[in-house]
Subunit: 126 residues, 2 copies
Amino acid sequence: MDGMRIGELARRTGVSERSLRYYEQQGLLVAQRTPGGHREYPATAVDRVVHIQELFAAGLRSRTINKILPCMRDCDGGPSETATPLLVEELTAERDRIDRMISDLLRSREVLDEVIAGASGAAAAA
Amino acid sequence: MDGMRIGELARRTGVSERSLRYYEQQGLLVAQRTPGGHREYPATAVDRVVHIQELFAAGLRSRTINKILPCMRDCDGGPSETATPLLVEELTAERDRIDRMISDLLRSREVLDEVIAGASGAAAAA
DNA sequence: GCGGAGGCTAACCTCGGTGTCGGGTTCGAG
DNA sequence: CTCGAACCCGACACCGAGGTTAGCCTCCGC
């Protein structure tokens, strides 16, 4: 129920051990250490890692996640820090970046569709 | 009117010499060589580079562009190769990949919006 | 033929998350 | 106590378009 080591956390979250160590290196995840130096995670770490994964999946960089995490409630059970307007601004900028990527990709798809249509037409004509 | 070297092509297209050499390395652009080894481009290269740029701007990778280019008419004045069904299939796969990226990003934006909403709410509550 | 502008190649760096490898250490069951 | 599994850390590879540097060579006008 309580402590687990990195292997089990990896198994439970589906995240590789490598990534978990990376998260720690980036300050996203903290771990107690056994006297021998092995990482020891509390049960709440599972949820935290899941949160981190969601944010990574959202295309955010570790630096950004680092700022967001302390503001998320029910992330670690701890009291959520107050979100500064600056943070909100940064997150909004981040969302705009994603918006731009989406419209770029939509345009990509259009171009590709045109090419496909042209290619199909050529094939049909030949 | 006819031949030009890499510097002029770069100037006319606004693409760096480095990129032009990269395009050649990727098989997107061919160049004659002078006896001394300098690249010699025909006037039509300008249009071709512009096409390449459009496709890059559309977010396509060089590998994809490499497949598309020979099928585009009025690209180089040459006869457009007949699009094989295989190519159409590959392009369609590429479009599906882009579609997946788009839906991933849409979900990402949702997640981010939730975080922003939460953060704003926390700030408002504080 | 000389000099400067322009071109050539090869090679390293960027960014960021993660796979992978290697060599050393620790844990825990038997 | 011993052995194997699990863990530690550091470091390199990767992807992709292209910036940048270094050292050498070519082109062309004078």
